[in-house]
């Protein structure tokens, strides 16, 4: 949907300083450009729960982090996000890959389609479903809106393969 260079430049335009990431097949394609960026620091973590904790520390320390994980990682990391987003009220933003949304050829009947949006709603996360590259502006507006309201937010990136 997006190239790594597009995402890298876009995140810099948002003022993001660190990308805390567990890649998937789609997000991972962006990794080389994110790693090469002189303006972004890429922080690869071993599991998604860590991503929220690292991002929380970055935010508390004055940085502007972005969490970048797949929806399966969202499922895994529930308690970590609950703690930092709601106990401490940190307005962290995340890009979450929506596995199999555009194409289920790799994983027919992928239950990510059943659970991703209900889980986002259960965590009371304000999200925008991104289906088209033309929606980059929508992410920009949503991010700014979340920052202004000091609430967490998610850009849910539709993916076509597992």
């Amino acid at each position: 949907m997006f190239t790594g260079e597009e995402i890298s430049h876009f995140l810099v335009s948002l003022g993001i300083t660190h990308v805390v990431m567990v890649p998937d097949s789609t997000l991972g394609l962006w990794e080389p450009a994110l790693a090469l960026s002189k303006e972004l620091s890429l922080v690869p973590v071993c599991r998604e729960g860590e991503a929220w904790g690292v991002a929380a520390g970055l935010y508390l320390g004055g940085a502007t982090p972005l969490v970048m994980i797949q929806c399966t990682g969202l499922f895994e990391s529930g308690d970590a996000l609950r703690n930092v987003l709601y106990d401490y009220g940190l307005p962290l933003y995340a890009f979450i890959g929506y596995r199999s949304y555009l194409n289920q050829s790799t994983l027919p009947g992928d239950t990510c389609l059943t659970f991703t949006e209900p889980i986002l709603k259960a965590w009371n996360l304000d999200y925008r479903l991104i289906l088209d590259p033309k929606q980059l502006d929508e992410i920009w507006t949503h991010y700014r809106d979340c920052q202004e309201k000091q609430i967490p937010g998610v850009a849910l990136i539709a993916e076509g393969r597992a």
């Binding site: 904790g53 690292v54 935010y59 508390l60 940085a63 308690d79 609950r82 106990d87 401490y88 009220g89």
Partner: protein, 198 residues
């Protein structure tokens, strides 16, 4: 041989601390809160268990000119073992981990950990020093005596990180979980202000 208690170990660290960021969690946070507070304390209560090391990494990366001291327990660390590798991948020179090894989930009634001989079929004990060294921590040392910890504590606030002091402490009998020291959102706001205003 070990004569170090959690309370004593925490008091020794507290006395040595100057302007470092100190992250405490679970049982060590309970003990830390009995001592004088500091604007750069992050008493991580409530927490997501095991996340202290990750949150500390974020602080260390955002505040590279400040020392970050993260106090974690062995039970917590087992819940977030991968974070040790994440930390050494980033290699923050300002990161010191203090790992309290008591072998139990203390605040839930001292149930033995999967790393404890009591729960292991072959009764072996997981060697935290080996785990940390293999995970990339440059300097790791195990302490069990209060006098040794007292002698070396200041050096751990200056060593090039990521480094780790493992403190073998006895479980506290009938220990209770730490109580939140106040409204969490307000504490987060003040802590961020303290870090970004200086």
């Amino acid at each position: 041989m070990s004569d170090l208690t959690l309370s004593e170990a925490v008091k020794i660290l507290h006395a040595a601390r100057t302007e470092e960021i100190v992250v405490t969690s679970m049982g060590n946070a309970r003990e830390w809160m009995t001592l004088a507070p500091h604007p750069l304390d992050w008493v991580y209560v409530p927490s997501s268990m095991g996340q202290a090391t990750s949150l500390g990494l974020g602080l260390a990366l955002a505040q590279p000119h400040r020392r970050v001291v993260v106090c974690s327990g062995d039970g917590s660390q087992l819940m977030n073992l991968g974070s040790l590798v994440t930390i050494t991948a980033q290699a923050p020179k300002n990161y010191t981990l203090i790992l309290f090894d008591n072998g139990v989930y203390e605040v839930t009634g001292a149930q033995p950990l999967p790393s404890s001989p009591e729960t292991r079929k072959n009764r072996d004990r997981i060697d935290w020093s080996a785990v940390l060294s293999a995970g990339g921590f440059g300097e790791v040392q195990v302490y069990g005596r209060a006098a040794d910890w007292q002698r070396d504590v200041k050096s751990w606030l200056q060593k090039e990180g990521p480094s780790c002091a493992v403190l073998r402490v006895a479980p506290v009998p009938n220990a209770v979980g730490p109580r939140s020291p106040g409204p969490a959102k307000e504490r987060a706001r003040k802590f961020r202000e303290a870090l970004t205003a200086r």
